[in-house]
Amino acid sequence: MIRHVTTLFVAHLRDERRAGEVMLVIVPFGTVALLVVPMAVGIDTPLLDRIGPGMFWVVLLLFGTIVTQRQSASLGESRRDMLTLLGVDPAVRFVAAALAAALLLTVFAVVIGAVTFVLYDPEVVDPGWLAAIVPLTCAGIAMVGTIAGNVAGGLGTRSSLAPLLVVPIAVPILLAGAQATEGLRMGLGILRWILLLSVVDIVLALAGVLTARPLEES
């Protein structure tokens, strides 16, 4: 099972690296989206410091939805059928796709995070915590997106239905991430938010693994 996950995970990333949609399209557009607000409000440093983390999370949600949808949509019906006939468990496919989406989303978050620090200069008391907050949040969004892709898979309305499923469920994850970064900014304790993100990720992972087969067979 681990061998199958690794094989599919590597194939997902290789396919994405060659397609270049995340690194060559989504990252630049995400960066431009972050650039718009400082251009609009000028050099009002206190205001930029205040809204910087919020802008980061909004851009992560909007473009993250695209990243996760791109990942789940890349597997068409023929390839799903092939993997099923090769004996690849649907749960394995979920784990591989979610891991690949989480990694891509984390890379995206690191890039736009760096841009946020440069453009908005937010004050963060202990930035080391970001190494936990960002991957946990990205993993949550990636799993929600992958589950939504499985739910909407095979439907003609997939491309419009899947984002509608992702956003409402991803918003609480982002709220936890945003509260955690706000806690860092204000010098408050953030352990409860880290715990909340961890619990949500575990629940989503279990939900994804347990629902993968029923969703496929339905």
Binding site: T7, E16, D81, L86
Partner: protein, 173 residues
């Protein structure tokens, strides 16, 4: 016909009725064990577009427990050895179809299901259909072909059926 093939491939539950495939009853957990023995080539190729033909076959080999050497041999058998490093997006429909046949040769199914078996193939590649079918039936397996090229299919089939008004009717091969 694609729906019927997907039912036979155990990928789709029959809306009504019962049936067995390779001894397993459809729509029961029994189908799990026979799925790796089924080879299904749909009209749309099951290929990752940005991977090369070889990488696609290596992926199948890794998941099916076969070797890369066997994957290279399968590609050579269908005449794609020279294009193995070409990405799928840069391949013609005929090459993609050949790659699908290479996948069948690689996994060696007991039941081969080919949808629109002759579509997208150049005349030289028509013999590949017969080659893949012969490879499966030569091992005691069975092949089901859906084709509009009745004359080409006639040489390799034992039974033929036509779909008339939604029902199957046996006709002379």
């Amino acid at each position: 016909m694609l729906g019927l093939l997907r039912v036979m491939a155990t990928l789709l539950r029959p809306a009504s009725g019962t049936g067995t495939v390779l001894g397993a009853r459809l729509a029961t957990p029994e189908v799990e064990s026979i799925r790796p023995r089924i080879g299904f080539v749909a009209h749309d190729p099951a290929l990752a577009p940005h991977l090369t033909l070889a990488e696609n076959l290596y992926l199948v080999a890794a998941l099916a427990g076969a070797t890369r050497v066997a994957a290279d041999r399968a590609l050579a058998d269908v005449g794609l050895a020279g294009a193995a490093r070409r990405r799928v997006v840069h391949c013609s429909n005929g090459m993609r179809r050949r790659a699908e046949f290479a996948r069948m040769l690689l996994i060696g199914p007991s039941l081969l299901l080919l949808d629109e078996a002759h579509v997208g193939l150049d005349p030289e590649a028509f013999r590949l259909v017969a080659h893949v079918v012969a490879e499966v039936t030569g091992r005691g397996g069975a092949a089901v072909l859906v084709s509009h090229e009745r004359e080409r299919a006639a040489a390799m089939i034992e039974r033929a059926v036509e779909v008339r008004d939604g029902t199957l009717a046996e006709v002379a091969p």
